[in-house]
């Protein structure tokens, strides 16, 4: 019994550390553009991010958490020695956490998703045995790392091309923006709500029929769009700053839309990344509590809540600083661009979350930004940096795996 408490305690500490790191750093990606473009104040951004990261984690984080917990390793292999799975998951959390700490000190672009998946595959393949890894599932995950930025890029391209056609290239962009932006708000709210209802709500014990789900999503999205439309109508042109085409005011109209997409992005981020921290923790908790390793064990909602709280604490402690720094640097991502990138990325990530695929939110967002760039939307993208970001997982996976193997043998030797 004492041993169990040690395991759960350690796992909780490591898991919460990961969640804290995710909240402190990665959340900025979702909210920084809204702050940079002054669509939200930093306080509002942190509040919105806290609410939607938490909701995302709890409502839609279940599938990916299941994948991390019991989709990568073949849990049946641990049936007769459940403590090995506990050591491995502890080692994975510690390895990913350590690697992320080093990388962030050095300023390297490293994904939490790649670190944790690499770590789990590492301890299982080397510490337990090559066939302890569900390679088919791992293959699918790796494929999703390639497909998710591409999908997000494609969606972003289509969305932004439609914005150019319908609004930016018209003789009176301001009138066109006021007319069409509410529809984009509807689209953003609808996508996230629908995927959440269809894929997420079973985890909190709600089962709705398909028709009810669509109706509910339409209703929620329509009400958000109406509120947005009212806010948009109030926006008046600023004569001093505006030129003939009123693009300055047009961007402020898109700013309203961006509040919605930023919340979607925070939601999507919470739904996918909470698993990186909480998936291994969940595995440790269920095994330690029951002493058995089972595929059927249900994921307790409070574990997801714990992850959500960790992310919010990270956001509250360090998020402010990171959001402010990033917001200053990405002023090129004005609301008309930022919303397209965020909507595309959030849609892609939420669908991945619903499918149980752990993807990299940063990679997906970068893919979406490139999509906007392809539609001639961004003045200057540094392709060297983009290349470095995408190349990072090639190094992250072996390092995460190697560290995890070391920690695994350490725990095997030290822990009871």
């Amino acid at each position: 019994m004492e041993a169990q408490i040690v395991y759960i305690g350690l796992a909780a500490v490591f898991g919460m550390y990961m969640a804290w790191g995710i909240g402190a750093n990665d959340t900025a990606n979702a909210m920084a553009t809204s702050v940079g473009s002054k669509a939200l104040t930093i306080k509002q951004a942190i509040l919105a991010a806290a609410v939607f990261e938490f909701l995302g984690a709890v409502l839609a984080g279940g599938e990916v958490t299941s994948t991390i917990r019991q989709g990568i390793v073949d849990v049946d292999r641990f049936a007769d020695r459940p403590e090995v799975l506990i050591y491995g998951m502890l080692a994975s959390l510690l390895a990913a956490g350590t690697w992320l700490l080093i990388a962030s000190k050095k300023g390297w672009p490293v994904s939490t998703t790649h670190s944790i998946v690499g770590a789990i595959v590492g301890f299982a393949a080397v510490g337990v045995g090559y066939d302890a890894v569900q390679w088919g599932q791992v293959g699918t995950i790796v494929m999703s790392w390639i497909i998710s930025p591409l999908t997000a890029g494609l969606i972003a391209y289509v969305i932004f091309a439609s914005v150019q056609r319908l609004i930016l290239r018209q003789p009176d962009p301001l009138a066109q923006a006021k007319r069409y932006v509410p529809y984009y708000i509807f689209l953003a709210a609808f996508t996230v709500t629908l995927v959440t209802i269809l894929k997420g709500l079973q985890h909190v014990g709600l089962n709705l029929s398909i028709a009810t789900s669509y109706l509910l999503a339409t209703g929620i999205a329509a009400s958000i769009a109406v509120v947005g439309a009212v806010a948009i109508q109030r926006i008046q042109p600023v004569r001093k700053i505006d030129k003939k085409q009123h693009f300055y005011t047009v961007e402020r109209v898109f700013g309203v839309l961006m509040i919605v997409t930023a919340c979607s992005m925070a939601f999507a981020h919470g739904s996918n990344d909470v698993a990186n921290a909480i998936g291994p923790l969940a595995a440790v908790i269920t095994v330690a509590q029951s002493g058995i390793v089972g595929n059927q064990s249900v994921l307790p909602v409070w574990v997801l809540m714990l992850g959500g709280i960790g992310i919010v604490v990270g956001l509250a402690t360090f998020g402010r600083h990171v959001i402010a720094t990033v917001g200053e640097k990405i002023t090129q991502l004005t609301p008309s661009r930022g919303f397209a990138a965020e909507l595309a990325a959030a849609t892609t990530i939420v669908i991945a979350s619903g499918t149980g695929l752990p993807v990299s939110t940063t990679h997906t967002l970068v893919g979406a930004i490139l999509g906007v760039g392809m539609a001639r939307g961004i003045a200057a993208i540094d392709l060297r940096v983009v290349g470095r970001i995408f190349a990072s997982w090639v190094i992250t996976i072996p390092v995460g795996a190697a560290l995890s193997i070391v920690f695994f043998y350490f725990f095997m030797a030290v822990l009871p």
Partner: protein, 224 residues
């Protein structure tokens, strides 16, 4: 966890380019006061205006170098990097010509013959107008980037460039008249001075030519 998202954005050349054309224009604008002083024979004032012109030209030069430095080849932009650099170059040449012409006049303490003084000032003013219209056109660059170089904003800039062309044609006409007027009185002047007067007219006219080339460069951006 390191946040590299912020770093994927290169520094946008748009606002610096607009700032550069503004400096270049302000540099040429000083020529009006400079020639008024020169015609009045007030060389102290001419000297101080010439200092301002030199200062502005330096400022434009520094900004030009800075913009180039921040436009590495790895940047992915909606328009070719080379075209933006060419635009920058011709903008810079407007300032260069203003410096050249004022330096020459001050160095030789050149007197503009009273017979052509009014016409001469009119010509200078029109060349400065061309630079001003070039500035106005380049100042739409941020709006062009916003609109993605298509649609209504492009028509707006096209009409600005047409106006720029009209002004440049004006300066050509004025230059021809000015040469004719100088030709009519040149026998009463020192031959060396006359040669330099023709040179001054030519250099001043080049400011309008450069302004027109700014328009051509912008047009190239529009056609992408």
């Amino acid at each position: 966890m390191a946040n590299l998202l912020a770093n994927i954005f290169g520094s946008s050349p748009v606002m610096p380019l607009e700032k550069h054309v503004d400096i270049a224009y302000r540099c040429t604008r000083e020529l009006v006061g400079f020639f008024e002083a020169a015609i009045a024979g007030n060389w102290d004032q001419a000297k101080s205006i010439r200092d301002t012109i030199e200062e502005l030209e330096h400022e434009a030069d520094d900004l030009k170098k800075k913009i180039r430095l921040h436009l590495p080849k790895s940047l992915f932009m909606p328009v070719p990097r080379e075209d933006l650099l060419e635009l920058l170059l011709v903008q810079d040449k407007m300032a260069n010509r203003a410096k050249d012409v004022s330096g020459l006049v001050l160095g030789r303490k050149m007197r503009i013959p009273p017979e052509i003084a009014v016409r001469f000032l009119e010509f200078v003013q029109r060349c400065v107008d061309a630079a001003k219209q070039a500035r106005k056109s380049v100042r739409e660059l941020d709006e062009l980037f916003t609109a993605g170089f298509r649609g209504a904003e492009v028509s707006l800039v096209s009409s600005m460039i047409e106006e720029l062309d009209r002004i440049e044609t004006d300066t050509d006409d004025l230059q021809a008249e000015l040469r004719a007027a100088l030709y009519a009185v040149e026998s009463s002047l020192q031959p060396v001075n006359v040669m330099f007067l023709y040179r001054i007219i030519e250099l001043t006219g080049e400011i309008a030519d450069m302004a027109e080339r700014v328009g051509r460069r912008l047009e190239l951006l529009l056609s992408h």
